[in-house]
């Protein structure tokens, strides 16, 4: 297969000279190469290309009701991010409002700039991000927000269960 047959170049010998049959000792390796690459492709595709990474998450022990002063953040330094249906993101700064007047709508793409803005405008000791995923949010959104904490180097953040007031406001704002 690898050789191209251009016809034999014998026959130039004079008459009567018996040509000795030359047997080629060359082994055609093409099928062997084919086989090699076939198996190679199989192993390349079936191997685990990238080992999955893992995101460390440490939850606070919140079962005891003793308020720890060191963990009590100033409300003014808090940024609360709420996750709703269809990847919608809402946030508010400071104290929660019962009517949702301070709520602003954002998106997964824009929330990073909000986090950075809040981080830079608050003293480092007061800054804390509270993540409240709503019942309609999906797991990937939660991981994406936790990832944003890493991306924006937020040291203090908490994954908190949404309360009833916020749940109602979130439900009214979700489309």
């Amino acid at each position: 297969m690898a050789d191209v047959d251009l016809g034999s170049d014998d026959g130039k010998k004079g008459p009567g000279v018996k040509k000795a049959k030359k047997l080629s000792t060359r082994v055609d390796l093409t099928p062997m190469v084919d086989l090699g690459f076939l198996l190679l492709t199989f192993f390349v595709f079936s191997s685990t290309l990238s080992q999955p990474a893992s995101l460390h998450l440490t939850m606070p022990d919140d079962r005891t009701d003793t308020p720890d002063d060191a963990n009590q953040a100033k409300a003014s330094g808090a940024l609360t991010i709420l996750l709703g249906k269809d990847h919608s993101v809402f946030f508010y700064e400071g104290e929660p409002s019962p009517t949702g007047a301070t709520w602003k709508e954002s998106s997964m793409a824009d929330i990073r700039s909000e986090i950075v803005r809040k981080k830079q405008s608050t003293p480092a000791d007061d800054f804390v991000v509270v993540i409240m995923p709503g019942d309609n949010s999906v797991y990937s959104d939660v991981v994406a927000i936790l990832d944003e904490m890493k991306i924006s180097l937020v040291d203090r953040y908490a994954l908190v269960n949404i309360d009833d007031v916020d749940k109602k406001i979130l439900a009214s704002k979700e489309h």
Partner: protein
């Protein structure tokens, strides 16, 4: 005009080198490959910038599939057996030693306690997405707590790598119940399985990484 006759040569390509290369690469990949383990539940994990590799030893994995069903698997057979025995006792399920053995051999726990006996009778191929998953409806019916308590007892004094492997589209409430179950067992450190992704340029993490390189 005597044109010099072009010598007729057979243009042969020597395949030996090519063959060598192919088999060299082949042997490399054969030796370096870890075959993908057959997964009975398909889960597409989200991506994160985390560079830390997921551990591969002492695994205790809680999987949440796209429909929000929760599955539980423990890597080490010995610990798994102890855990199943313990959990069955806690949940008042009577399992024969034979049934415990069968459950230990299966890849994961995929049913509520009430159906544990049925799962023990299944063969490994039947275990997968079609089973109802562990019951984690709300904090009153959270069987994950019992399982984790049993796992915690089985791993007492030894290291346990807790992994949560959730699917992109799994809803949050199931994840919350899983976290609640972990918290209830004083397991505050766990890891979420993600696909590695590049750090977006211009962000604070990106800047700090660049500074470190300099």
């Amino acid at each position: 005009m005597g044109r010099p006759a072009i010598a007729k040569k057979q243009p042969t390509v020597d395949m030996t080198a090519m063959c060598d290369v192919a088999f060299l690469l082949l042997s490399f990949f054969i030796l370096a490959t870890k075959l993908k383990p057959q997964e009975s539940v398909t889960i597409a994990t989200p991506s994160s910038v985390s560079k830390q590799e997921a551990p591969s030893k002492d695994l205790v994995v809680i999987s949440i599939n796209p429909a929000g069903k929760v599955f539980f698997s423990v890597q080490e057979a010995e610990k798994k057996k102890a855990m199943i025995e313990d959990a069955a006792k806690l949940a008042n399920v009577n399992l024969s030693p034979d049934e415990v053995d069968k459950l230990t051999k299966q890849s994961m726990i995929a049913v509520p306690f009430a159906q544990l006996k049925q799962q023990a009778a299944m063969n490994d191929k039947e275990i997968g997405d079609k089973l109802p998953g562990i019951d984690v409806q709300d904090s009153a019916h959270n069987e994950m707590r019992t399982w984790l308590r049993a796992a915690n007892d089985a791993y007492f004094g030894t290291k346990m790598n807790l992994l949560i492997k959730g699917d992109n589209v799994a809803k949050y409430p199931q994840f919350r119940e899983v976290i609640d179950a972990l918290k209830a067992n004083e397991l505050f450190q766990f890891q979420l399985v993600t696909n590695p992704e590049a750090v977006p340029t211009g962000t604070l993490l990106w800047e700090s990484e660049n500074e470190r390189k300099k």
